[in-house]
Each structure stands twice: as C-alpha cells, then as structure tokens.
C-alpha cells in the first residue's frame, strides 16, 4: 500500500514538475494584419512579462497555473487572455487602436521594461521618440536622439557618431539592410535619415547579434516604415531652413509604395551666421545645402512571405568663393543605397531571410583658380548578399547565416588640368576586396531567469588586384613597383569573432547583464583634412594595413521602479583596438600610391561607466544621464610613442531631457547637454622662419577646449486635428543662452617684424550661436 502511495505521489510529483512551466507562443497583430513589435505580455499572477519581437512574436515561458495574460500596447485597447494550461499553445491576438482617427502609425516610446530584457548595450529609438527632444532647426533626428544615450557621442562640427571610444568608421550603419558609409549631413548636424520615414533604430554598443559584423565598435540598424496603409497618406513639413514631404500610397491591400524628399535652404540664414562665427575673411563667401530622397516598395502577399525594395539617395554640396584670388571650391558628397529583402516564415517555424544590397559613397572636390583645375575623388561601394535563418525552440533560439560582399575602393583619383589640358600622370588608387562570413548563434533560456547568448562569426577576407604598390628602401626611396593583375590575390586572412552574453533577470524589473565579444574590421578610414569636410579615404585591409581587431566587454545592472514608471541603469565597459592607422603628418599629399609610406599603425583602448535614470510614464517625462569615459591611442611614430587622447575623447558627458505634455494640444520639451571640451594640440612656442611665424606643437591632443554646454527648448502645438488631417506647428530654439561653444582654437600673430613689434593672440572660434526655427507639419 505504502509503495502504491509512493508511486502515486511520484507520478503526481513528476506531472507537477513537468507542468511547472507552460510555453505559450503568442502572435500580436493589428487589425490590418501588420505585426506589432514591442507589445507587452504580462502574466498578472506570476508577474512575468514578455515583449514581442520585430515579427510580433513572443515565446512565453510561464508557470503553469491559472493566470490571466494582459497584452498591452499604448495607443491600443488592452486584451486579456486566460492562460491556457497546455504547453505549446499558439495564441493569435488582434489589437485595435484606441482612438480612431487618422490612420497613421502612432508608436509609443520603447516598451516599458525593454531595458530589462534587451541585449546589454542595446539602445532602441522608436518613431515617436524622435519628437521628444527639441529639433535643431525644426528637424528631429535619429542620431541626435541616440547621442543622448549612454556611450554615444556626437561632436559639433564632426560627421558621424562616436560609440564608446571608437571612431566614426568603426560603426556599421545599416538602413533597411544596406550599409551607409557616411550617416551625416551638414557637419554632423543632421543625419541622412529622414525622421518621417524612420520606424525604429537599434544601436548595439556591445552584444550585437551575430548577424552583424565587420566593424570594431557598434552596429546601428535603422528600419524605415513598412506599413501598408488603407489609403494614401501624406506628410508635409515646411520650415524656415528646410522642408520635407512624404507620400505613402497603397497599390493593393498587400502592397504599397512610399517616397519621401527633403531639402534644405540654409544659404538664406545659416551660412552667413557660420561665416561670421568662423571669422572668414570678407572676400570669402560660402554656400551649403543638402537633399535626400527615399523610396520603398512593400509586398506582403500573406503571413508567410514579406518582400520589400528600399532605396536612398542623398547629396551634400558645399561651395566657397574667394573673390580676391578668384579661387572657387566645389565639394559634394553623398550616399546611394538600394536593398531588397525577402522573408519567408516556413511552416516548420524556420524564418528565412535573403537580403541583397548595393551601397555607394562618393566624395568629390573641385578647386579652380585661373587656368588650374584640381579634382579629387574618393569613394567606396559594396555589393552584398546575405542569407539568414532563425528558429525558436522551447528554450533555444537558433540562428545561422552566410554573407558575401564585394567592395570597391577609390582611395584617391586626382585630375589636374592646366588650361583644360589634362595632367595625366597621376594614377587612381583603386582596389577591391571580397569578404564572406558565416555565423551561428544560440540564445539559450537556461532558466526563466538566466539567459545565455553564444555565437561565433568566421570571416574569410581576400584583397584582389588589379593594383600596384611601391617598394621603398631604408632611405624612403622607391626601389621597385609590384603589380597585381585582375583578381590576383594580394592578401588574405580569416577573422574569428566569438561572442558571449549572459543575462540574469532578478525579476521583471531588474536584471544583470554581461557581454564580451571579439570584433574585426577589414577596412580603414583616414581623414584627409583636419576637420569638418568629410574628405575621408577608405582603404582595404592589406599586407601593409592589417585588419583591425578588438575586444569589447561590458557589464550592467538595470532596474525599473514603481511599475516601470522609472528606469535606471549602470554599465561599465572596456574596449581594446589593434592595428588602427593614422596619417603621420596630419594633412597628406594627394598622391595616392604613396599612402603606405605616410601611414603609421598603433592601438587604442577605451573604458567608461554610464549611468542613466529616466521617467518614462505620465505627462511629465525626463531623463538624466552621466557618462565618464576615456578613449586613448598609442602609436610608436606619433607623440614619441606615448599615450594620447583620441580627438573625440570627452571624459564627462551629462544630458538632461525634459518633456511635459501640458495638454492634448501642447507639448514642451527641453534638453541641456554638458560635456568636456574637445581635445586639441596646443602650440607650446612660436618661432620665425624668414619673416613668417611657425607653431611648435606640444604633445598630441594635450590641451582641452573649454567645456561644451547648451540648452535647447522646443514646443509642439496641434493646431487642428480631424479624422482626415492633422496640422502641427513646431518651434525650437537651439543654444538658448547663446553660448559660444569653442569649435576651433588658433593663434594669430599681430604686429610688424620690420617695426620689431610682435605679439601672439589666442582666438576661440564658435560654430552655431542661438538658432530659433519654426515649422509647420501637415498629415493627411
């Protein structure tokens, strides 16, 4: 008898143990079958929560006991579902919009406790968050919004972003699956991403998915809107300094095409201010403008297949005229990208994706004076095809993929003409490389609290001819030229990139995360000029300039409070970088084939701590962040081999954001930023050669400009809102208290040598003073 009781007890125990957790698969969609990414699923009694992924899917492992699931998404009506007590149940949830009005995507800020469950180092920005900070000249911007987050820096007057001590070229920026090489317009003030069509942006400063690789520091993926509207949607924005228009047209219930266009007209107001700030001579006048255009076609025949083609074209143009010397400079640069993707949700639950893309970036410089014309062109292009597959099991999410790309580099084409006759003895430096990658990744839910993500990327790389390079003797004289024929292998290597992430969830509102990954980068970028203009030269990894590699490790603690009303986090990181390159003498000569003699190799490392606290619910919302970080470099040929700060090293970085929804019509916001001044190389003395004064510079970047801080304020007012249209106005003021933040420092020599009266004066040059702007937006 007692054995029977024991046996029954064991069976019951086993069955209870077996039923302790239920795996429920939940798909969340809108009424128009569009998936809802970021919907929250909350088990009310077990206090466990989940978030749907980009496909609107969540695998919920919940204690198997009577419970109610609350599915919520701000702006949509809550849905309550009784928890099925059977594992492997699939639930399809259709959510309806709470307010019926204009059928545009109203996406809230990032899901409430996303920082608890996201990858360490992952930052997400949704469409609506772009308006939560004052826009510069009325333009909300995704890079500027990201730069207020931990570890991401934008420096006034410099292109791109700097992530955890890495340089601009060390960030892989992907737009709808295609690489973007220069993400900035206008000295970094605007990104190339039109905020009207950005659906979401995710930045991984560590712990990037194994799908992405090829850059040392970070991955930024940007998705454009993919909604198939019920009817034509239009958005028009007219501002004092720029305007943009977007059109979203349904072709059928399953397909739509969307186009957008943006153009600035800065020459009326901004460029005269910039000329004055930079203290340009009276005879010098400048012009600047940019435009960009996007187009996207989506086709979703059914729930199993999705297809899109997306394209982007952008161009910046800068002109300078010196009426005294009759010198004209015309510079233009820009990106062109096109990507196509097909996604297939197979019945065996594998999700397959094939993406093909083409990306191109070109920089053109033309100078004319009298009969001389000098033209310089640099650029880079990439063709890529990628296949990935992903499947969720009960406790594992497995993915793998292969990728192949082909790069073409133009590291300098120079055309000189004299009296319209070409000077043709300068060969262009063209090269090409091929890179493949294979990755395998497993996200393993060891327990509901402990998650491990391990992956490996293997990256074979080959540099191909045709090309040539000089061989130098000890005196630096050319002794030989080595030629490579078409597709002849010049250099080959294989990169290995293991990655590990661990995440422990103490509860639904607290987690501890660790991440460590090795990264490789098979290309280099160096700047031709000291500042401002994006005269960047992309070089492939080669025997002379080996691929960069490094390690990024970080740990962070994330805690939400008061039912996710407040979020806070503290992260620490360390990054090492090997085989980074610099030009030895700063400004280089224009003869491309002699680059290798002018390049030196070294290493760098960066470390820091990032603290953030946010209020993310309610009419009053805000965020405070403080970052301490250092980014240092070490080159044997520079600075006598001693460490020196990288040009974007800024130890202290503070930002305070506030947003207050005064009424349903009026929202105000403010942003205050403070960071350490930019480093520069200060002269330590001056000396005469002939009658001219020369600076002797001290250690590289040993001095620091005054601290940078400014206040921006803005307001958005809904003028009118009906079922068929919405009219908004935006007012913003950049640099409210008109601080003259230093952009550049130089010493001026005044006096007269013939009268033996000489003095040196230190000048501080700022860039942007107070800049108010107003714009009107119309959606219909």
């Amino acid at each position: 008898m007692k054995y029977s009781f024991t046996l029954i007890f064991l069976i019951l125990s086993i069955s209870v143990w077996a039923q302790q957790t239920c795996s429920i698969k939940i798909f969340v969609k809108q009424q128009n079958q569009q998936v809802l990414s970021g919907a929250q699923i909350y088990a009310q009694k077990s206090h466990v929560s989940f978030i749907t992924n980009e496909k609107g899917f969540a695998l919920c492992v919940i204690p198997c006991k009577p419970d109610t699931l609350l599915i919520s998404y701000i702006g949509y009506k809550d849905v309550y579902v009784a928890l099925p007590m059977i594992s492997d149940t699939i639930i399809h949830v259709i959510m309806s919009i709470e307010e019926i009005g204009i059928n545009k995507v109203v996406v809230t800020q990032v899901k409430e406790n996303s920082q608890i469950t996201n990858t360490l180092g992952e930052l997400q920005v949704k469409h609506s968050e772009l308006r939560s900070i004052p826009g510069i000249m009325g333009e909300p911007d995704v890079l500027r919004t990201l730069s207020l987050s931990s570890g991401v820096k934008q420096i006034e007057g410099m292109q791109g972003i700097f992530v955890r001590g890495g340089s601009q070229d060390q960030n892989l920026i992907v737009y709808d699956g295609a690489t973007v090489y220069n993400p900035s317009h206008l000295l970094g003030f605007f990104s190339v991403f039109n905020s009207d069509i950005v659906a979401s942006a995710s930045l991984f400063s560590s712990g990037a998915p194994a799908l992405y690789g090829g850059r040392l520091s970070s991955v930024l993926t940007i998705q454009s809107l993919s909604a198939i509207p019920d009817s034509v949607e239009t958005a028009v924005n007219l501002g004092v300094l720029s305007s943009r228009v977007m059109l979203n047209v349904p072709i059928s219930q399953k397909s739509a095409i969307r186009a957008s266009f943006r153009k600035t007209y800065l020459n009326l107001f901004v460029m005269p201010i910039v000329e004055k700030s930079l203290e340009l001579k009276d005879e010098v006048s400048t012009q600047f403008g940019f435009y960009d255009a996007t187009c996207r076609f989506d086709f979703k025949p059914n729930l199993l297949h999705q297809f899109y083609i997306s394209a982007y074209l952008g161009k910046d143009k800068f002109g300078l005229l010196n009426s005294q010397t009759l010198l004209t400079n015309n510079v233009n640069w820009g990106n062109f990208i096109v990507a196509a993707q097909w996604k297939y949700n197979a019945k065996n639950r594998w999700i397959h994706s094939i993406t093909a893309s083409y990306s191109e970036y070109n920089f053109n410089f033309l100078a004319k004076q009298s009969v001389y014309t000098l033209g310089i062109e640099t650029g880079i292009s990439k063709k890529e095809i990628q296949y990935t597959a992903k499947k969720r099991y009960e406790n594992h999410t497995v993915s793998y993929g292969v990728q192949a790309n082909f790069h073409m580099y133009n590291s300098g084409t120079i055309d000189v003409t004299i009296e319209n006759e070409p000077f043709n003895s300068i060969p262009a430096m063209l090269s090409q490389s091929s890179e493949q990658s294979l990755f395998v990744e497993d996200e393993w839910f060891i327990t509901p609290q402990l998650i491990c993500n391990a992956s490996i990327r293997i990256v074979p790389y080959v540099l191909l001819g045709p090309s040539s390079y000089y061989v130098y003797n000890d005196k630096g004289e050319v002794t030989d030229t080595v030629f490579y024929t078409q597709n002849q292998i010049m250099y080959t290597t294989i990169g290995f990139e293991p990655r590990l992430q661990l995440q422990y969830r103490f509860s639904s509102d607290a987690s501890l995360k660790f991440s460590s990954m090795r990264t490789t980068q098979q290309m280099h970028m160096v700047s031709m000029l000291s500042a401002a203009l994006p005269a960047d030269i992309w070089l492939p990894a080669s025997n002379f300039n080996k691929p960069m590699n490094g390690w990024i490790s970080s740990v962070g603690y994330f805690r939400n409070f008061n039912d996710n009303e407040f979020s806070s986090s503290l992260s620490l990181y360390y990054k090492s970088m090997q085989n980074i390159i610099e030009f030895k003498d700063g400004f280089i000569t224009l003869y491309a084939s002699s680059y290798n003699q002018k390049i030196t190799h070294g290493k760098g490392f960066a470390f820091g701590s990032e603290f953030v606290i946010k209020k993310i619910k309610g009419d009053f919302q805000g965020a405070f962040s403080y970052n301490f970080s250092r980014s240092l470099r070490c080159f044997q040929d520079l600075n006598q081999g001693y460490l020196y700060p990288a040009s974007y090293d800024k130890p202290h970085d503070v930002s305070i954001q506030l947003q207050y929804k005064i009424s349903s019509q009026l929202t105000c916001n403010a942003l205050w930023v403070y960071n350490s001044g930019k480093v520069y190389s200060e002269p330590v003395s001056k000396y005469f050669i002939g009658k001219n004064v020369i600076s002797e510079y001290g250690p590289i970047n040993s001095s620091r400009m005054p601290a940078y801080h400014r206040l921006d304020i803005g307001a958005q007012y809904v003028i009118a809102k009906t079922d068929s249209y919405e009219l908004l106005s935006n007012i913003s003021i950049y640099n409210v208290y008109n601080r003259k933040n230093t952009y550049y420092i130089y010493y001026e020599t005044i006096g007269n040598v013939n009268e033996f009266s000489i003095q040196f004066v230190k000048n501080f040059v700022g860039l942007f003073p107070i800049l108010p702007s107003v714009s009107i937006q119309l959606y219909f």
Binding site: S370, A531, D585, Y642, V684, I689, E696, G698, S757, I758
Partner: protein, 287 residues
C-alpha cells in the same frame, strides 16, 4: 535585506563613477618648451652659407626692441664642414633686414653635388644638421599672361623639363626689383616631380607672402615690374620641411585645413632647417 544591499551597491558604484575624475591628459613626458634655438640656414651653389639663429618664443611673448636678444641668438659657435674643410662662421649685421644678425662663411661656398654638415654649439647644447646641394636646374621658358579682369595685372608662367631618372624637388622664388629686398618664395613654392616626372610642365607662379602681416595676398604681378625668378633644386628633407612650412603659414587659422603637426625638420635635437640650393635666376619685365 537583499534589496537594500543591492541599492547600497548601486550607490557605491555610482559614487565611484562620479568620483572618477578625469586623469591628467599629460601622458607624455615632454621636453617641449620655449627658448629653444631655431636654425634657419641655407647654402646656395656659388654663394656663402647664411645661418640665422633665433629662439622659439612662449605664447605670451611680447616682442619689442628691448627684448631683441630674447629673440635673436648672437652667441653661438656655428661651424660648417664640406667633407674636406671646415669653417667657423662669422656674425655680421645688415640694416633693414629681419633679423639683422646672421652667421656666414668667408671661405666655403656651395657646390652642386656636395653635402654640408652644420654644427651649432650654444652653451651645453649642440645642434647638428646636414644637407646636400643637388644638381643644377634650368627653366626652358618664362612668360606672362593677362589677368581675366584687370589689365594692369598679369600671371607669371614658367616651363621646365624634369629628368625622368631622378627624384627631384624644387623651390621657386620671385623678387620684384626695387620693391622687395630679397627673394620671396612663391605660394606653394616647394614641390616634387611626382606629378610630372620626366615631362616638361607649364607652371603658373603665384606671388608669395613675404611676412605674416601680409593680410592680402595677391597672385599676380603688376605690368611694368621687373621680376627676378629663381628656380632651385633642393634635397628631399628640405622639400618635406618647406612643403609643411607652407601648409602651416597659409592654413593657420583655417578650421578646414589647419596643419596641427610639427614641421619635419632636418635639424637634429633642434628645430628649423638647413637647406642646400642649386639655383638659377632669370628676369622678366611684366608687360
């Protein structure tokens, strides 16, 4: 209790972060300072050597005649060796030049193809440099062409032929007779033959800056002027110095193209230049 411990740990870590004041940026053990001896020396083929010694000045310096000797060094022992003989230079003064004092040889003159070693001894400091005078260079043609708008101005052109067998480096000077006391390097005066090796290029000359207070630089020459044009060949180290020198002089204050790095000097343990020239002078009347 566990929650309280976590909060305390949070606070400690945050406090440590806030207390992580930035380390000193001075990672370099540097000897950079003002007051170093600056060498501005040259030796031309067929001429005596000329060496101007000055001191580098601190950034807060205010120079007037009362502190002349804080700028100009007149107490060094300067010696030249040409591989066969050596000579100690003598200090002489010339009026209406800047600076008035300079050292010169009385015996040794420049010879194309020869190397000259310079030694400057000033108290405990010894500074050395060497330069080689290359082979002579010639112009094949000089002429002027009209300005686009101004009939009183003209552009000055030269043509020269480059030896394909050699790596050559050049520097060009102009002097307007009666208006300039000395040769002035043209705008972008230093160049190498990497753009035109073995060819006969035509080059337009832009008038250079004589001194730092020439705020308005003009490219053209005036009709009626007699202009002396000096074409010189120099060695590679001198070319590297002079090309960086011009970037420093012409781009200083320009945020788009500032130099920001030290000139490549051929003076050991010092700053400045010791340059050998093989020169030829031509003249043209602008009309």
């Amino acid at each position: 209790m566990m929650k309280k411990n976590v909060y305390i740990i949070n606070i400690i870590i945050i406090a440590i972060s806030f207390c992580s004041v930035s380390c000193s940026d001075n990672f370099t053990h540097s000897d950079f300072k003002a007051g170093r001896v600056v060498v501005d020396g040259s030796i031309e083929a067929g001429s005596f050597a000329k060496v101007v010694l000055t001191y580098s000045l601190p950034l807060d310096a205010k120079i007037d005649s009362s502190v002349y000797y804080d700028l100009v060094n007149t107490r060094a022992k300067v010696t030249i060796f040409d591989g066969e003989q050596s000579e100690v230079l003598v200090l002489i003064k010339r009026k209406n030049f800047f600076p008035p004092h300079y050292y010169t040889t009385r015996t040794i003159k420049g010879v194309p193809g020869k190397t000259y070693w310079l030694e400057v001894i000033y108290y405990d400091d010894t500074i050395r440099a060497q330069t080689t005078i290359p082979n002579n260079v010639e112009l094949s043609k000089i002429w002027s062409e009209p300005h686009v708008n101004d009939t009183t101005k003209r552009y000055l052109w030269i043509q020269m032929c480059d030896d394909v067998q050699r790596k050559d480096y050049y520097r060009i000077f102009t002097q307007i007779k009666g208006k300039q006391k000395d040769f002035v390097p043209t705008y972008q005066s230093a160049f190498s033959d990497e753009y035109f090796n073995g060819t006969c290029p035509k080059i337009m000359l832009y008038k250079g800056l004589e001194n730092f207070f020439d705020k308005k630089r003009e490219d053209t020459f005036s009709v009626g002027d007699t202009v002396f044009v000096k074409i010189s060949s120099i060695d590679k180290q001198s070319y590297l110095f002079w090309s960086n020198y011009e970037k420093e002089v012409f781009n200083s204050g320009n945020p788009f193209a500032a130099n920001g790095s030290n000139l490549t000097s051929n003076v050991d343990s010092g700053i400045g230049i010791w340059c050998g020239y093989a020169s030829k002078v031509y003249s043209i009347i602008i009309k």
